[in-house]
Amino acid sequence: MKVEVTTKRKFQELKEQEIKKQATNEQEGLDSESSTFQNTAEDVQRSKPLNPELVQAASAVASSFPRSKEQAESELLAQLRRHEETTDKQRRGGTINIRNVISEMAVKRQSPAQRGVRISNRISLEMDEDGQRIKPGRSSSRSFDSGRSLKAGKRLNIFTKASPETENTLKTVSSPTIWDLEFAKEIAAVTEQPPRNGFEEMIQWTKEGILWEFPIDNEAGMDDGAEFHEHIFLEKHLKDFPKQGPIRHFMELVICGLSKNPYLSVKQKIEHIEWFRNYFEEKKEFLQEI
């Protein structure tokens, strides 16, 4: 059996590490789980044979082992196979290492009383005012139950990121047709309940627009999001007009009046000025005769 000394040393160290790991695993009591997963992994990967040199090296190392040689050899081979499997997966990309998932989990002990409480929490017999059942509230504190946060920990790579193309296609497909709108209106009409009291009636009216919102907003329905300087400083729209002359004088008066008008939107004011510009453009020849 040709086994180089250096490789033998390497595998001895490896073996020692594995034994330590397995000892600690036994202490934690996770060994059963890990071994079962090992077995399943083995069963899956048995189709791929290991490198014969590695197998020979493993058997040589196992022979030098003081205790049960066969067990050591089988365990070493299992480890090797797992290494191969992980490297293959990494080559393919995206390993879902179940160990990472389980490493953070722990078996929870529940007393039967607690179980009863849990189940009764799920089934709620209370009714809301609308006649609909109250669902058990999902508090955000559940995520902090075992003192862990959602964001900490290694990334598990279980879910693939949704590509933006699929999102776009979904959006284009679901552009609302008339039938969808009608359906939505039907649902809304069927599910709405008559108001139970005056407050709800007032809420409904406010939504429809019959009742104003209090405290009264003076700019309700009028605010077009333009700042005050866009309303007042309208001189920049006078660029195309002649600098001197009665037309300029006239337009400056127009702008003065528009800037003081609180009832028009900026768009309307600009439209006014545009109209005057077009009007004077048309009358240019006429004006030049004068």
Partner: protein, 124 residues
């Protein structure tokens, strides 16, 4: 002209479908008033601008005369002066209170049946 009148008539009388829907304007005068209001709304901006040119001491008078002709060329029903506030329910041209848009008779009818909010018979 006749075609447009026919269109308006159709719109006023609606189509005589099996369900016999009728138009909602009390009479033709009310309909004409509605027409005038719609046109006045459409031409309001233009009239305002042309009037701004007319009622002016700065621009030359020739320009103002041209503007005079332009505004006269607009449809006659587009001027707001021709709008008359008729009663909304009976189309009565006179005795109409502006706040309720109702003629005095209709107003009195509703007030006596307690269908006018906040209206009470005066007594002092």
């Amino acid at each position: 002209m006749a075609a447009s009148a026919l269109c308006w008539a159709l719109r006023a009388a609606r189509q005589v479908l099996p369900s016999q829907t009728r138009g909602y304007y009390v009479d033709w005068r009310m309909l004409r008033d509605v027409k005038r209001r719609k046109l006045a709304y459409e031409y309001a901006d233009e009239r305002l601008r042309i009037n701004a040119i007319r009622k002016n001491t700065i621009l030359p008078k020739e320009l103002q005369e041209v503007a005079d002709k332009e505004i006269a060329a607009l449809p006659r029903d587009s001027c707001p002066v021709r709008i008359h506030n008729r009663c909304v329910l009976t189309s009565r041209p006179r005795g109409v209170k502006r706040r309720w848009r109702l003629s005095r008779i209709v107003f009195r009818h509703f007030a006596d049946h307690a269908q006018m909010s906040g209206i009470q018979r005066a007594m002092w």
